[in-house]
């Protein structure tokens, strides 16, 4: 049979990672009660510069990076434990999340020495936050069709175009923008580059895009003859596509793809009380089993990455399953709470929690690569295209 084997070799996080887990837990227990956030249940997209600074003091942002850039030179698996503990304990990790997950690693891999020195230590201190400047009004899943242009100008580039769905641009310091630096629209992957954009640059305008829940996370970022110095080009001119695809691997494989609404499950346990009826216990247990499986898969992927493999298909499968689970969770929980919450009050409160989660759920199968795009990647892996 010619199809590649789907394997998720069970993987143990090493003892040093488990030891770090305990440290992170006690830090969070102590710190979280003092942090005010805009969300009742915070997650990786809830901003809190204050929390990020505290985390930075512990050396847990950019934890794998070289010490000379402020990192702690710890393993990818230790980073994994930090991220999952932040998610499992509803920490407001939104300010630094993107910088820690993909912008910093991108600069580390492709950036100039000057860029690394200027930016990375500030990220690790929890003082410098990033947005992703990939999508545009006409370029979503088809990212290679971006139109934003950076034309050569004395000492740098003149940038014109529009980015959308730019989460946190109104709060963050930088955005890494995918732009066309040569060739024509229609050249696809060729002639694209990434540039480091200080969001305070003249000619860069940030306007809110309010989501269906009335929240302001997204922005439209417009470039009108914005001047970006040459020193802000990341890597070589024309390498943008290569960089973006390597970033997407980080963006897709993490535990945030199945833990974003973990609070729903935890609150469900609370409202069902200590002795739920058999049927309710069973439905709860099935949800727990699904989450456990996702975690086993995700840890296995982390193990493969630590072992030097690039499990792109496996990562896509985890994100696909994880987002579907997160969409099922509030719906299953809602119905269950209506029949089995211990008190009317608990039920009413939980239904609000679950309703909010349901309202946010459509974003899960869109952000970080739509389910359909991911399934296209998997289909290619299966030899179907």
């Amino acid at each position: 049979m010619s199809i590649p084997k789907l394997e998720f070799p069970p993987f143990h996080l090493p003892p040093e990672a488990e030891a770090l887990r305990e440290e992170v837990r006690s830090f969070l227990k102590e710190t979280l009660p003092h942090i005010e956030t805009e969300d009742r249940f915070a997650s990786w997209n809830t901003p809190s510069p204050e929390f990020s600074r505290e985390l930075g003091k512990k050396g847990w942002i950019g934890i794998t990076w070289p010490k000379k850039y402020g990192g702690s030179e710890r393993s990818f698996l230790e980073r994994y434990v930090v991220t999952e503990e932040l998610l499992g304990n509803s920490a407001p990790a939104g300010s630094h999340w993107v910088a820690d997950r993909q912008s910093g690693p991108l600069l580390l891999r492709f950036g100039s020495e000057e860029q690394r020195q200027a930016i990375l230590p500030r990220i690790t201190r929890g003082e410098c936050f990033f947005s992703i400047g990939m999508s545009e009004p006409d370029s979503g899943s088809d990212l290679a069709s971006v139109r934003t242009r950076a034309e050569a100008a004395p000492g740098g580039f003149r940038v014109n175009g529009t980015k959308v769905w730019t989460s946190g641009a109104h709060r963050n310091h930088y955005c890494i923008a995918l732009v066309r630096t040569s060739g024509q629209h229609g050249d696809r992957h060729k002639g694209l580059s990434q540039i480091l954009v200080d969001l305070k640059t003249p000619g860069v305008t940030i306007r809110p895009i309010i989501n269906l829940a009335g929240r302001h996370d997204w922005n439209e970022v417009t470039f009108s003859d914005a001047f970006i110095p040459e020193s802000c080009l990341i890597g070589n001119e024309g390498d943008g596509w290569l960089q973006v695809t390597s970033e997407l691997a980080f963006e897709r494989s993490g535990p945030e793809r199945f833990m974003q609404n973990f609070y729903v499950l935890r609150e469900l346990v609370r409202v069902l009380g200590r002795q739920p009826a058999n049927r309710a216990a069973s439905i709860l247990g099935r949800l727990i089993a699904r989450l456990w499986t996702l975690r086993q898969m995700s840890v296995a992927v982390a193990g493969m990455m630590q072992g030097g493999k690039s499990p792109a298909i496996e990562a896509s499968l985890v994100k696909d399953l994880g987002t579907i689970y997160q969409q099922d969770l509030p719906e299953v929980a809602r119905v269950l709470a209506e029949s089995d919450a211990t008190t009317e009050e608990d039920m009413a409160d939980f239904l609000d929690v679950a309703q909010y989660a349901t309202m946010m759920a459509p974003s899960y199968t869109i952000q970080g690569g739509t389910t359909q795009v991911l399934r296209g990647i998997v289909a290619r892996g299966l030899g179907l295209r």
């Binding site: 049979m1 010619s2 199809i3 084997k5 789907l6 394997e7 998720f8 070799p9 069970p10 887990r21 837990r25 999952e84 499992g88 304990n89 973990f262 499950l265 935890r266 609150e267 346990v269 609370r270 069902l272 009380g273 200590r274 002795q275 739920p276 058999n278 309710a280 216990a281 069973s282 439905i283 709860l284 247990g285 099935r286 727990i288 089993a289 699904r290 989450l291 456990w292 499986t293 996702l294 975690r295 086993q296 898969m297 296995a300 496996e314 499968l317 696909d320 399953l321 579907i324 359909q372 991911l374 399934r375 296209g376 998997v378 289909a379 299966l382 030899g383 179907l384 295209r385």
Partner: protein, 351 residues
């Protein structure tokens, strides 16, 4: 056994199952034909004794070795009680007995033991009507005991499973045992191990279902092109792959935890989660595979049903997602919301 030995054994077994467990053999069992030669060869290869110590005539493998073999057996719909006998032999050996030759099965349920006489009725015992003996675990005042009853001392009412395998209800009415021994595994543990065996067989079957559907869609031409080139089909098969991946990952993680955690209680939460997960997705896997293969896959002629019907039967065997979900849910509810995350990361029942 070391990695290399295990891989060699699996490779040999894979070739053997491919040659000897073809469509006719599987269909034959459904018609009531016992493949005596196949069983004899399986015994000659030592497969039912894979996890029995060498001094008892076994291959000296671990529980993990046995489970890896049974995942493979699941991928071939091996229509004889290899899984049941391997588990029965393991239980007997760990209770101090020496496993006898011949097909056995496990009869796991409420059983009582007085001296060497066993009492109780167990429903849906796999391969009940072809087994030479039944292995059960009974609670006694001296602790759990493994009891082995020869088929002649039990009453079997055959009710074939929906996969066409000779399942049945087995009654022991003061049945004389040929062996009784103190067991490190109690009845609940034996049941969990059987559930783990089924989870691994389901992982094998699920993998085979995916491979079968993918190959079919690449061959099948409609509207002038292979249907695998249609996005609708590609999306379906990718979704199928995600459920298969979850099934494999859950079963393998539980197999690892059960093996590492010790025979008496290792990986008890992981097993529950894995059987819940594998049972939960069995229908999604079967449904997509059948949809992708149209009427062809719904025929008795095609082999797809060897695997999808087993997935449907195995998800019910030794606890469905309802049973294991309830165990998990009750324990986690009892421990409360703050214990949820620490328990999940420890792969342990919340306490």
């Amino acid at each position: 056994m070391d990695r290399e030995t295990r891989d060699m054994l699996l490779e040999t077994a894979d070739r053997f199952f491919t040659e000897r467990c073809g469509r006719e053999v599987v269909n034959g069992v459904e018609k009531g034909v016992w493949p005596a030669d196949l069983w004899k060869e399986i015994e000659e290869m030592g497969l039912p004794l894979i996890a029995v110590d060498e001094d008892k005539g076994g291959a000296g493998g671990t529980l993990a070795d046995m489970l890896a073999l049974l995942r493979l057996a699941g991928a071939h719909a091996v229509p004889v009680p290899l899984a049941e006998t391997a588990l029965a032999n393991l239980l007997v050996a760990r209770a101090g007995g020496v496993p006898a030759a011949g097909p056995s099965t496990v009869a796991l349920g409420a059983l009582t033991l007085e001296g060497n006489r066993l009492r109780g009725t167990v429903t849906r015992v796999p391969f009940a009507s072809v087994a030479d003996r039944f292995v059960g675990v009974a609670a006694t005042t001296e602790g759990p005991k493994v009891a082995v009853v020869p088929a002649a001392n039990a009453t079997v009412t055959e009710t074939p499973s929906h996969a066409g395998e000779p399942y049945g209800t087995v009654s022991f009415d003061k049945a004389v045992c040929e062996f009784v021994g103190a067991s490190p595994a109690d009845g609940e543990r034996a049941y969990a191990l059987a559930a783990l065996v089924r989870a691994m067989q389901m992982a094998g079957a699920a993998d085979k279902v995916l491979g079968t559907a993918v190959e079919y869609c690449k061959q099948r031409v409609q509207f002038g092109r292979p249907i695998s080139t249609f996005q609708a089909i590609q999306q379906m098969l990718a979704e199928l792959a995600s459920y298969v991946a979850a099934t494999i990952a859950a079963a393998e993680a539980a197999a690892r935890d059960a093996d590492e955690g010790g025979f008496a209680d290792g990986g008890s939460f992981s097993i529950a989660a894995a059987k819940s997960q594998t049972s939960d997705f069995a229908q999604r896997i079967a449904a997509i595979a059948h949809q992708s293969m149209g009427a062809m896959g719904f025929t008795h002629e095609h082999i797809l049903h060897h695997y999808t019907r087993r997935l449907w039967v195995w998800r019910r065997d030794f606890g469905s997602e309802t049973f294991w979900g309830e165990k998990i849910g009750s324990a986690f509810a009892k421990a409360g919301p703050q214990a949820l995350w620490p328990s999940l990361t420890a792969s342990a029942y919340a306490a």
